[in-house]
Structure formats: structure tokens, C-alpha cells
Symmetry: C2
Subunit: 210 residues, 2 copies
């Protein structure tokens, strides 16, 4: 006889199972990589069954992409919100960088998946990958374009700069994932932001206003 506390409606249980599978998958993929992980690992970690996994997801790949897509979308939204709050161009850029870095910091498993494990095999999924990364690039590029329009920085290839920024941030996070340095990842935010702002010719004065 289950206690009232443990009661869960059927639909709650259902959502719960899906969540558990997804969360376990994140852990498993992060620790063993996509190809190193076996669906049975996810089954074991989630305390469900193979049937349940295939009830909610079409395939192993689909689990992976649900994970990535959900995360990247959230990330883009967070960046957007953080930037809205920032007053002044420099502050906004700082907010964008800080959001990315902090998010990776709090979700190392997802960071690992997004930055290291993203499988490059499936040609169909290569498109999605480009699209999702492009989303982040476009956001950064938008800020840079605005900076150019406002004559805050010289006219330049802002798309290139956006890719450079994404690459730079990714590499720094990867270093942290692999070596653990710097101890709190957040320590890189300030110097990293400075490097990025410098690169396009924006001087990182503390209180600049667009």
C-alpha cells in the first residue's frame, strides 16, 4: 500500500520517466562519450528498462540530440536574457560570455557532450549541428554588427569575429574539462572577456555606455 506522499499520477510518472532517462543519458554520454556508451548503460543508470527507453525515444542518436538541442536552445535564451539586462555594449558582451561560461560550469556533463562528444558521423545531424552553433554565432554577430553601426568598433568581418569568439570560449572550457584549470572556471571570465573585446577593438572600460 503506497503512502500518500509517494503518490504520483500516471502522467506525472510518465514525465518523470522521460526525465530520468534523459538525465541519466547526459551522465552516461558525458563520461563515456557517444560511441563508448551503450544503450544498456542508460537503461541501468536510469533504473528503467530498454523498452522504456525505446518507448520514449526512437534511437540512441535521438536521445543524444534531444539532449543537445534542449541544452543549446536554453543556452541561447539565457544569453538573450542576460544581454537584455546589460547596460552598454561592453557590459552586454561581458554578459554573453559570462552566461556561456557559467552555463558550462554548472553543467559540465552537457558541456562535455556539446563540446567534445558531438558525433560528426551522421550527415543528417551535421546540418543540425551547424544550425545550432550558427544560432550562437548569429547572436554574437548581432552585437558586433551593432557595435560597428554605432561606430564603437571599426568595420570588419563580424561573422569571422563571432566564430573566433565561439572557438576561443569553447577551447577554454575544454581545457577546464580536461585539466580542471582554472580552479573555479569563473576566473577566466574576466581575462577571457578582455581578450575577446580587445580582438575586435573594443576597449573594456568598466563603465562604458552605448
Amino acid at each position: 500500500m503506497p503512502t500518500a506522499v509517494e503518490r504520483l499520477s500516471k502522467s506525472q510518472q510518465k514525465e518523470d520517466t522521460r526525465r530520468k532517462i534523459l538525465e541519466s543519458a547526459a551522465q552516461v554520454f558525458a563520461s563515456k562519450g557517444f560511441h563508448g556508451s551503450v544503450v544498456d548503460d542508460i537503461v541501468r543508470a536510469s533504473g528503467t528498462s530498454k523498452g522504456a527507453v525505446y518507448f520514449y525515444f526512437e534511437s540512441k542518436e535521438q536521445i543524444f540530440f534531444s539532449l543537445v538541442e534542449e541544452y543549446v536552445t536554453t543556452l541561447a535564451q539565457q544569453m538573450h536574457v542576460a544581454v537584455q539586462r546589460g547596460r552598454g555594449l561592453v557590459a552586454q558582451v561581458e554578459a554573453a560570455v559570462a552566461t556561456l561560461v557559467r552555463s558550462f560550469h554548472t553543467h559540465p556533463a552537457l558541456a562535455r557532450i556539446v563540446l567534445l562528444d558531438w558525433p560528426n558521423a551522421g550527415a543528417e545531424f551535421q546540418g543540425k549541428r551547424m544550425a545550432l552553433k550558427g544560432m550562437l554565432v548569429e547572436i554574437l554577430r548581432g552585437y558586433l554588427d551593432r557595435a560597428v553601426q554605432d561606430h564603437r568598433i571599426e568595420s570588419q568581418d563580424t561573422e569571422l569575429a563571432a566564430y573566433v569568439w565561439i572557438g576561443a570560449i569553447g577551447e577554454v572550457v575544454v581545457r577546464w574539462l580536461n585539466t580542471g584549470r582554472p580552479a573555479p572556471l569563473e576566473d577566466v571570465i574576466a581575462p577571457l572577456t578582455r581578450l575577446l573585446l580587445n580582438s575586435v577593438g573594443l576597449v573594456p572600460t568598466p563603465s562604458a555606455s552605448a
Copy 2:
């Protein structure tokens, strides 16, 4: 009865087979990724046999790693040579960046392997990966440290800057691999170098001398 023209000593033949296997493996890995490639693909592409492949290499992974190690080592040497030739710090940095970009440009298959495949090739590879990447980072970092000593740039975290540079270059090359832009990859060398030099506070004047 083989003609005299076709004559090859046994040892020449031997070296030839090994080369063919390695070159074919580069093509195969580049087009299908490590996990998507099957040893029989390499056998087919090289026009040899499974026996030959396993005569020269211990395992599929070992083929992959031979490829990567050889390439990265060559790359580091080329960078070293190119930089030696450069007169002045800025020119040296330009030479380093140009060498990396040009090498990836002329060896797109290897670029693909190193930049896209390698990261998710398996946990055993990560250690070696860090080591080899560290090699490149140390080279760049060396130049930056010298720049600091010479008071050409402000004192800063040069290791971070080196990672930022590597990440930036990698991302730009990956964009080229995925989208084909910019048409001749070499077009990015100048603006990319400018971004990188700016990032650490080095003004890219055409004829500066240390």
C-alpha cells in the same frame, strides 16, 4: 616476368604498402569519421588486404593515432621553421598562424581528422590529444611570453591567450571544412591574425621589429 621498370626492392615495396595504407586511412577517416569507418574500408581504399593492414598496424586505433601524431609533429616543426624565418614579433606570430592555416588548407583530410574526429575518438586518446595540443599551445605561449618580457605587450595570462588562439584558429578552419567559406581559406589569414594580435594588445603594424 616483371619488367625492369617496375622493379622495386622488397623494402621499398614494404614502405610503399605502409604509406598507401596510411594515406587511404586518412581519406577514409576524414570522410566517415573514426567510428563510421570500418577497417575493410581502409583495406578497399588502399588496395591491400586485411592481413597487410594488421601486419603493419596493431589496431584500428593505432592507425588513427599514427596518422595524427605524424601530422601534428610535422605541423609543429613547420611552425618552428616558419617562425625562425620571421623578422620581428608580429611577423613571427603571423607566420605561425599562416603556417597552421595553410597546412590545414593543403591537408583538409587531416584537418578534418584532427579537428573534428579526434575529439570523440575515445577516452584513451584524450591524454595524447592533450599532450599534442599542449605542444602547439606551448609554442604560441613561448612567443607571447617573449613579447611580455620585451614589454611589447602587457603582462597577462599567456597560457590562456594561447588556448584562445588555438581555439579561434580551429573554429575558423572547422567553419571552412563545413561550409567551404571563405573560398580560399587563405583569405582568413590576414583578418584572423589581426584579431589574434589585437586580443593580446599587439598592434599589427606591417613592419615592426622586436
